[in-house]
């Protein structure tokens, strides 16, 4: 019996396809409803708040301002210090707006009422006098520091860091060719199907918080710090979560206000973002790299020098600090270039704060280095594959320490490229596209390569509990929210314990049921939570053996376990798994459970993806087909892995062609879902996804690496390359709009 490696169907999907799932808004609890009055200017002084009319309305319980809420919100929202060193940063205090508002859409007052309609009606009567201040919306303008978002910081540059390796200047001057490059990703909106929401219950001593989040344990720690309440008295429960893409590893002032109101009123208070609110809750991406590259006439890239500007929006969110420090060291990617000088800057603007978004830093780095590779190919009239082949780190160099000290664990990059080109029929596609173009059709094929860093530590928690009836609960610190990782983990545990998968339940997302945990993000869950689950299950099995040994009056070494049976090797006596479980709860034994906090470090999957694009006479591009060949380590559930390729690939179509979060001159988000074009099933390409059979394992017990973000990491580069092939034009940004194509 072996489950790993098979496309076992997702275990817990019935509720999702039959409408019985429980999102935070489905939690039934007697509660008050919060809504927010928002700033309609990008920067301004909050002069006066007229809340009298609202308070007179029937059903209105309270109207709170920043002054009142911030008496309880003691600490500000700060960076994720597990991954972000705050020391080089200039960080403004970020609580509920008080005194000044820093972006259009920022909450400036909160209304609490007995139902959400009353709350909304009352919010319309709250007049806030805001005296506009000069605002800085545009990142290029913000760099000049003429208008400051946060006067107390003295600058809009939240972070400046130099990433230098080798001698870029010298390498550039020795290069055969030097070319200037500008490469950009524009602002996006993460768009989970379920908008964020929170229910906060305060009983006078303890806080219980139902929260649409990817990181319940970190949230507990942050709430503890911010409200100065011990973690033991805060319980964070993550119900079903309808997507996050990184944007739900993010704490909002609205959420802090809901908690503060529940403490202040001693009542349960809830808020679910409307779609409009979700769209301004977080934006993502927006970065520009400007610099110069040097390369030899044979296509060898020898130097990259330049400046990376990353927009922050009005405040430093929990996650955005990752970007300016992870993008630069990932820019070399899978290539051997060793002379780099990258100045990385993070810039505050009076706009909606930015968070990480699926891929977080690797899509940006990959787009930069793949554009550079394609630029070298174009300049030298070389083939895209050939130029990459010339630069890839060779197998004999593995494990390879990149110029910034990242250690690429395992892999054979050139062989994968060779195989990928063959399996994906890249050359055949190129020939076909050329013949189609001769017939007058604008079709093109693009290829891009990626190296991803994922499987982030520092650790993950898992507990394996054998119940009295022999069934098993696996409680993990990972927090799947749509990916289906729970099914893959159940497969791993079923194999470890040699029991049917139906007897296993994987659970997560309750800070009291699961003592510790980090969460699901960064393509880490299967590798680190899966390995933790294997480790805790092995320990649980050892404990089961001991119970069996004592029951059969044998030494534990004399007991062998196979396929649900404990066998006394010498005497041939047997005890079933269930009998041992019953024995464990007979009153003589301590029960059977084992927990681990498994340490882990990053691992590096890689692959090559190919996109086929067709452009019509109006410049409208469609991705017709998307093909992927990846080495993601050992594949535990091919269907789940492929699902990630499809989902990420569809988001890549969105980033490359459709999605653009336009901020107007007033700093207001100028799009709704009527014109922020999230791709639909019609825009989704046909997918072909392959995983390298001769995979290169990670150091994790699962031997897996990660695939959650791969297609959104490399997809935009492959798609943009395909548009270039189709049109003969050059594009160095996302999205490429019909207008860009027609120009």
């Amino acid at each position: 019996m072996s489950y790993a490696g098979k496309s076992v169907k997702r275990l817990y999907d019935d509720k999702f396809v039959t409408g019985r799932s429980t999102y935070v808004d489905d939690i039934k609890v007697n509660s008050l409803y919060a809504t927010f009055v928002r700033s309609n200017v990008a920067h301004g002084v909050i002069k006066r708040m007229h809340k009298e009319d609202a308070l007179k309305m029937r059903g209105v319980v309270a109207v709170f301002t920043g002054e009142e809420l911030n008496q309880l919100i003691k600490g500000g929202i700060g960076p994720w210090t597990t991954y972000i060193d705050p020391r080089p940063w200039k960080i403004p205090l970020w609580r509920f707006a008080q005194g000044e508002t820093k972006y259009n859409g920022e909450p400036v007052a909160m209304v609490v009422a007995q139902d959400k309609y009353t709350a909304r009606d009352a919010a319309e009567t709250v007049n806030v006098d805001i005296e506009p201040l000069e605002a800085v919306i545009d990142m290029e303008e913000a760099k000049k520091d003429k208008v400051l978002v946060h006067k107390e910081l003295g600058t809009n540059l939240g972070y400046v860091g130099d990433f230098n390796a080798g001698d870029a200047e010298k390498a550039l001057s020795n290069a055969d060719r030097r070319v200037e490059v500008e490469i950009a990703n524009n602002r996006l909106i993460p768009s989970p199907m379920e908008p964020r929401g929170i229910v906060s219950q305060y009983d006078g001593a303890n806080l219980t918080i139902w929260y649409s989040t990817q990181i319940p344990h970190f949230a507990r720690a942050e709430f503890s710090r911010i409200f100065n309440i011990p973690e033991s008295r805060i319980r964070v429960i993550m119900p079903d979560v309808g997507g996050g893409f990184g944007s739900k590893a993010h704490i909002l002032p609205e959420e802090l206000a809901v908690i503060a109101a529940s403490i202040r009123l001693g009542k349960t208070v809830r808020w679910t973002a409307t779609r409009t609110e979700e769209m301004i809750a977080t934006n993502s991406r927006h970065n520009v790299f400007r610099g110069e590259i040097g390369f030899k006439n044979d296509g060898t890239l020898v130097a990259i020098k330049g400046t990376l500007d990353v927009e922050l929006g009005a405040y430093l969110t929990y996650t955005e600090g990752l970007q300016p420090t992870i993008i630069p060291p990932m820019i070399p990617g899978p290539y051997r270039v060793r002379d780099l000088a990258i100045r990385s800057r993070a810039i505050y603007t009076n706009t909606i704060p930015i968070t990480m978004y699926r891929g977080a830093s690797r899509p940006e780095a990959t787009f930069i280095i793949e554009r550079i590779m394609s630029t070298v190919a174009d300049e030298l009239k070389m083939d895209d594959v050939e130029v990459r082949m010339r630069n890839l780190v060779r197998e004999d160099q593995m494990p390879y320490t990149n110029p910034f000290g990242l250690k690429y664990d395992t892999g054979d990059y050139p062989t994968l490229l060779k195989e990928g080109v063959k399996v994906l029929e890249y050359n055949k596609l190129k020939e076909w596209a050329e013949s189609e173009r001769k017939k007058g059709k604008k079709v093109g094929v693009g290829l891009a390569y990626y190296l991803e860093i994922c499987g982030f530590g520092p650790y993950e928690y898992s507990e394996t509990r054998v119940n009295e009836d022999g069934s098993v609960i696996v409680a993990i610190g990972g927090t799947p929210h749509g990916q289906g990782t729970e099914t893959a983990i159940a497969q791993l545990v079923a194999d470890e314990l040699q029991i049917p998968i139906e007897r296993i339940k994987v659970t997560w997302g309750d800070s009291e049921a699961i003592p510790a945990g980090t969460g699901t993000y960064g393509s880490r869950t299967l590798a680190i939570a899966g390995s933790a689950a294997m480790a805790s299950s092995r320990q649980a099995l050892e404990k089961m053996k001991r119970v069996a040994a004592r029951s059969m009056k044998a030494d534990v070494e004399e007991i062998e376990y196979r396929n649900g049976e404990f066998v006394h090797k010498k005497e041939g006596k047997k005890m079933s798994w269930d009998a041992v479980a019953r024995e464990a709860y007979s009153g003589k034994e301590p029960g059977v459970s084992a927990s681990v906090t498994l340490e882990g470090d990053v691992t590096f999957p890689y692959g090559v993806h190919v996109a086929v694009v067709e452009v019509d006479d109006y410049g409208i591009a469609r991705v017709k087909e998307y093909r992927a060949y990846d080495d993601i380590g050992r594949v535990i559930n091919p269907a789940l892995a492929e699902g990630q390729v499809h989902g990420g690939g569809t988001q890549a179509v969105g980033q490359a062609l459709y999605e653009l979060a336009i901020i107007n001159e007033n700093g207001q988000l100028a799009v709704t879902y009527a014109d922020y074009f999230v791709p639909t099933a019609v825009e989704a390409p046909r997918f072909k996804s392959y995983f390298a059979e001769k995979y290169h394992p990670s150091a994790y017990l699962t031997k897996s690496k990660g695939v959650g973000e791969a297609s959104l990491i490399v997809g935009p580069a492959a798609i943009v390359r395909a548009i270039e092939d189709a049109t003969g034009k050059r594009f160095n940004k996302t999205p490429v709009t019909p207008e860009d194509i027609l120009k």
Binding site: T276, Y618, L660, F677
Partner: protein, 280 residues
């Protein structure tokens, strides 16, 4: 996303609806595809909704020399019915929104809403249709060309109900509704309704109408006149393309800039004319 309080009235007949509208401040609700989102965003806060969506007397398609279409006929019903001489109506209806919108939305609702990027305003302008409007004062008829006053503004008064659209048929015309969208189900970046009658290789009649290029549907009569009696040569087509965009200043928005829209108008007209020329 939480509308203000609103009253709901569901009449049994158009007569009842008109009585109610005459003495109350109400907004007529048909398929709700535009009205409901506007209520949720609190752009509109009517006192009452008058729901005529299920009134049988307003849902019909009648064939004839001049066909008539009831105002609450669903897009999906129009999309599944071929009316001789009005094939373009079926084609247009099949391109409105997405399946969900087509199942709920009504032709009259869309016309009454008069979104500058909607499909029907251009269509019925090209067809020289007549809007039949009822109120307590009686029934009156307004030509499509006079019906659309501006963006989201029509000849309808608050106490009016659009009853039906009378449409002359165009037998023997090549007909096409073409629409450029950024993404499936989206409003038109530019849409074009085109009807062309050729006899002995010459253009006898042509009707051109664009959507998405201004506050109202744009019918370039100069381009139409220039094409009449021509053989539709490449030169004729180029001339028509230039005349079609003459004096037009399309909006610049998130879907595309003004100059891009002008370019799309020209290409759309060219491609559709060439397609029709080739079909002979």
């Amino acid at each position: 996303m939480y509308p203000a309080q609103v009253g709901y009235y569901r009449p049994d007949s158009v007569e009842e609806a008109l009585d109610f509208l005459d003495s109350n401040e109400g907004k007529v609700l048909a398929g709700g595809q535009s009205l409901i989102p506007m209520l949720k965003l609190r752009i509109l806060k009517p006192k009452y909704l008058v729901d005529i969506g299920d009134l049988k007397e307003l849902s019909f398609i009648r064939e004839g020399e001049v066909a008539s279409i009831g105002a609450t006929t669903r897009h999906s019903e129009l999309a599944s019915r071929k009316v001789p001489g009005l094939e373009i109506v079926q084609e247009t209806a099949s391109k409105v929104g997405d399946i969900q919108v087509r199942n709920m939305g009504t032709v009259g609702g869309s016309l009454g809403n008069a979104d500058p990027s909607a499909d029907y305003p251009a269509l019925f302008t090209a067809l020289d249709a007549t809007m039949v409007i009822r109120s307590k004062k009686g029934t009156r008829e307004v030509k499509a060309g006079d019906f659309f006053k501006g963006a989201f503004t029509t000849a309808l008064e608050p106490s009016d109900i659009l009853e039906q659209i009378k449409v002359p048929t165009y037998k023997g015309y090549r007909q096409a509704y073409r629409k450029v969208v950024r993404r499936a189900g989206d409003f038109a970046l530019v849409g074009l309704a085109l009807l062309l009658k050729m006899e002995a290789g010459e253009v006898k009649d042509v009707r051109i109408s664009f959507t998405g290029v201004g506050e109202r549907p744009h019918r370039p009569l100069e381009a139409e006149n220039a094409l009449k009696d021509t053989k539709l040569t490449d030169g004729d087509v180029s001339r028509a393309m230039e005349l079609a965009v003459k004096g037009v200043n399309p909006p610049s928005d998130s879907r595309g800039s003004s100059s891009y829209r002008r370019e799309v108008m020209k290409r759309l007209l060219k491609n559709t004319l060439e397609e029709m020329r080739g079909a002979s």
